[in-house]
């Protein structure tokens, strides 16, 4: 295959990935603050950062223009995670990756940095363990640029599976909470939900 054809495939796949993922990334407004959220379950469970949803009730905007009131149904303050529930069904949920990531893997972030909706950035996994506030906390560091408004959006691998939730910045670059921590919180919510 010619080099520029491979470059073309690469480009087309990246564009497809970005547009497919945008449907699963919501905007969350809580007072004057704006963040992102990642649709985890098609029946209305959204994962975001704890710091994005300081109050219990938020406004959620989908990429198709729909809006809904969301309620915070679970928090994990240590890992800066929260689950927001909206009363909508048939939402485009993300695929989740359970295998650990490796440094060097390609990753894409989607969020609303500086209010620019569904902004995409491409980079690689830099490392999976970072020291924050002098204690070892499991975070994925990636050399993708994010900004205020990216928080709560997904960091996905080369085939679009979520590997982390963008949570903070280090030098303008992403620090993401690994997916398994969000999975744990979601499972707790699902377990206590009435049948």
């Amino acid at each position: 295959m010619r080099g520029h054809q491979r470059f073309g495939d690469f480009d087309r796949e990246a564009v497809e990935l970005a547009s497919r993922l945008a449907a699963s990334v919501v905007e969350i407004r809580a007072g004057s603050g704006v963040g992102a959220g990642t649709i985890w379950e098609s029946d209305g469970l959204i994962v975001t950062n704890d710091h994005v949803v300081p109050s219990g009730q938020v406004e959620v905007s989908l990429s198709d223009g729909r809006t809904a009131t969301g309620h915070v149904v679970a928090r994990d303050q240590h890992n800066d995670l929260a689950v927001v529930s909206v009363n909508l069904a048939g939402l485009p949920a993300v695929n989740v990756r359970r295998d650990p990531v490796r440094p060097g893997e390609l990753v894409m972030s989607i969020g609303h940095p500086f209010g620019v909706r569904h902004s995409v950035a491409l980079g690689i996994v830099s490392t999976t363990t970072v020291t924050v506030d002098r204690f070892q906390r499991l975070l994925i560091r990636a050399d993708v640029s994010i900004g205020p408004g990216s928080s709560g959006g997904p960091l996905v691998d080369a085939v679009g599976r979520v590997v982390g939730i963008n949570s903070m910045m280090g030098g303008g670059l992403a620090l993401a909470v690994p997916t398994f921590l969000a999975e744990g919180l979601i499972q707790a919510v699902v377990a206590r939900a009435p049948a």
């Binding site: 990246a14 295998d99 490796r102 060097g104 893997e105 830099s126 080369a158």
Partner: protein
């Protein structure tokens, strides 16, 4: 978990194939990348040069000559000693107390526009950043570093502790060594090309040092009077070097330099402090005749000086 295949997707996805290749390249290079504990704060990175423990790193991260340690890819931490250092090119060679290490694959080919990753080990784990090779420059003279054979610029992020880490090109080979000491664009560091690293390592391993020029004076910076600066056309230069000792029979003595002379420029380059003069005394200067611009008795004048070699 199969280390070689996480993240792969069916259907020959170009993104997934690229992602896997990159992660494989990082893992492969990582077998030859060590942590270097040679300063108080943030540890830095180093490259395994030989299986018997030679480690190349950046000179500025080796702040002490003793009590050095190296964190190996297998997780062990071993003692290391300093074999030699070359501040002018910011390279240092260590010998770790270890055998059976995996030397890094090296290449002198760096193509502008090519993709490259910096892979460091600032702690226990590998850390990587992706960028392009933005520029490959010819020989340059850095403000603090004397003469360098050339530099590679990259837009890959220089994380703390990346000094001493290799830049790995798309082929999987290390094409240079990253350092934050010489600043590139964006506040980034730069990469010392592998050919220059090879030359310096060869000099350090055989002599423990790199040849450098010698003038044979002791000096200190002095403020230049405004009237003198105007007369000598030195609008940008506020200080010169006051000569406080002259070694008998040394190059400066032979050139006729006297105690109390103030050096303004060396070979046409302004010298504002002793560091700047030292930086101008790279190995290429040894044996060269240069013009020394000085002030004696308030009057600027030129002396011809033949640079010696530092013993």
């Amino acid at each position: 978990m199969n280390e070689q295949s996480t993240g792969t997707a069916p259907g020959g996805s170009a993104l997934a194939a690229f992602s896997d290749a990159l992660a494989d390249a990082v893992a492969q290079a990582g077998r030859s990348i060590v942590r270097v504990d040679g300063r108080h704060r943030q540890p830095a990175s180093g490259i395994v040069w030989s299986s018997d423990g030679l480690i190349v790193t950046a000179d500025h991260v080796v702040e002490r000559d003793d009590d050095l340690q190296v964190g190996l890819p297998d997780g062990r931490t071993v003692k290391a000693r300093l074999v030699g250092r070359d501040p002018s090119s910011d390279l240092a060679l260590l010998k770790a107390e270890a055998e059976g290490l995996t030397p890094i694959a090296r290449s002198a080919t760096a193509r502008v526009g090519g993709l490259a990753v910096i892979v460091g080990r600032p702690g226990a784990d590998l850390m990587a950043s992706l960028g392009t090779i933005s520029a490959v420059s010819g020989p340059i003279r850095t403000r603090r570093g004397g003469r360098l054979d050339g530099l590679i610029g990259t837009d890959a992020t220089f994380y703390p502790g990346f000094s001493g880490a290799p830049l790995i090109a798309a082929g999987g080979d290390a094409v240079g060594l990253a350092t934050s000491r010489f600043q590139g664009g964006r506040g980034n560091g730069v990469v010392i090309p592998m050919a220059a690293v090879e030359r310096t390592v060869s000099a350090l391993s055989s002599h423990g040092r790199v040849r450098s020029g010698f003038v044979g004076i002791g000096s200190q910076p002095v403020k230049l009077p405004d009237a003198l600066r105007q007369r000598a056309g030195l609008s940008d230069q506020e200080t010169g070097l006051l000569v406080v000792t002259v070694e008998a029979g040394g190059p400066a003595d032979k050139a006729g330099l006297l105690l109390g002379d103030v050096i303004l420029a060396f070979g046409g380059e302004p010298v504002r402090d002793p560091g700047e003069l030292r930086d101008l005394l790279g190995s290429d200067r040894v044996g060269q005749q240069v013009t020394l611009r000085i002030v004696r008795g308030g009057e600027p004048r030129d002396l011809a000086l033949t640079v010696g070699e530092r013993a």
